[in-house]
């Protein structure tokens, strides 16, 4: 009886140590991600930014692994159960690769064959002072009911941006 009791205690200590370890790992990875994020703000080199983004994605996957394996306890399950969950998720490899490739191919096609789309990416516009046109009208309605008619009217005229965003 006393033997099983000490077994239980040892198991408990082990589990608590694991929780502590994973908490520290998750916090450290998050802090590293944030440091990289702050660092990236001041950078201009495309290649370096891409490398940092790659590092952040790797850290993200590592965090996901630790949450699933230890917090969700999947690592301690029977192998068959792990396989029925992990193998279907491998579809994401195709899913991400195919769709991002398709997206970038669509951009190239539009840049090659749609001059209007390409032009949009070169025309700089003024930053709107506060909010989109729809909100403007709504805000104005709240603030000054008397001026409602006028504001909405003018809102309609100025609302149309000179450069329509192209989807």
């Amino acid at each position: 009886m006393s033997h099983s009791h000490t077994d239980q205690e040892a198991h408990n200590a082990e589990a608590m140590a694991e929780i502590k370890k994973v908490t520290i790992i998750l916090s450290v990875f998050t802090i590293v991600e944030l440091i990289l994020g702050f660092w990236m703000i001041s950078l201009t080199s495309e290649a370096l930014i891409l490398a940092i983004k790659g590092t952040i994605v790797i850290l993200m996957m590592a965090k996901a692994f630790y949450i699933v394996a230890y917090f969700m306890h999947l690592k301690h399950e029977v192998k068959n159960l792990i396989m029925t969950i992990v193998v279907p998720l491998l579809l994401f490899v195709w899913f991400i690769g195919a769709f991002l490739w398709d997206g970038s191919s669509f951009r190239n096609l539009r840049n090659n064959y749609n001059p209007y789309f390409k032009e949009q990416a070169t025309i700089k516009v003024e930053k709107k002072e506060h909010g989109a046109a729809k909100h403007e009208a709504k805000d104005a309605k709240h603030e000054a009911p008397a001026a409602k008619h006028e504001t909405i009217g003018s809102g309609h005229e100025t609302a149309k941006p000179e450069v329509e965003p192209y989807y």
């Binding site: 993200m60 068959n80 769709f99 997206g103 709107k128 989807y167």
Partner: protein, 228 residues
Amino acid sequence: MSTTTTASPNEAKLWGGGKSPFNSEYGKVMMWYFLMSDAFTFGAFLISYGTVRFSTNGWPNSNEVFKSFPFAPEGVNAPLVFVSIMTFILIISSVTMVLAVHAGKNMDKQGVVRNMILTIIGGIAFLSCQAWEWNHLFHEGAWWGANPFLNADGTASTTNFTNFFFTITGFHGFHVFSGVVINIIMLIMTLMDKFEQRGHYLMIEKAGLYWHFVDLVWVFVFTIFYLL
């Protein structure tokens, strides 16, 4: 045939009948499959976001869009600060959830109650942060179909950015809300001694799986929207 005898003793024990070959309770296995399907839903959202972003020439700079902080003066430039607080709130509430599950395994009712309360507080804190951020962005003019922000290079931006942001963080926030409701129900059941009567705290484990999944999704949403 001879092939029927080639199963190893271990396999024969697992699949020989009379017990779960997954050595797990039915409800827990089903929770795992539900979470797997939910992962595909979130994956589809995030990958469609990625596809649209890859097919567009310019995109708003997240450090300019998400630079505000509650109670800070207008025009403060604090990128990443508020969202990192949200991230840590969710990580810590995930840790308290693990501790609740662990206490449940030891039939420690006090430990379950304490950690469930902490987890619920964490969930509510996260939802409050998100409510503040949504409200702030709305008052800047951002909403579904309205994008006041320009692309990072100063060109006109489409509403894709705000549409995806509000849809995906909204869907995640709804999951957090459901998780908080589930956790409150679990807390009430614990206080009513339901699990003591059953002789096990397996329900806490299932609620824990859901809560960790919510944290897991935030790891991806946070990285993709705020860092990349």
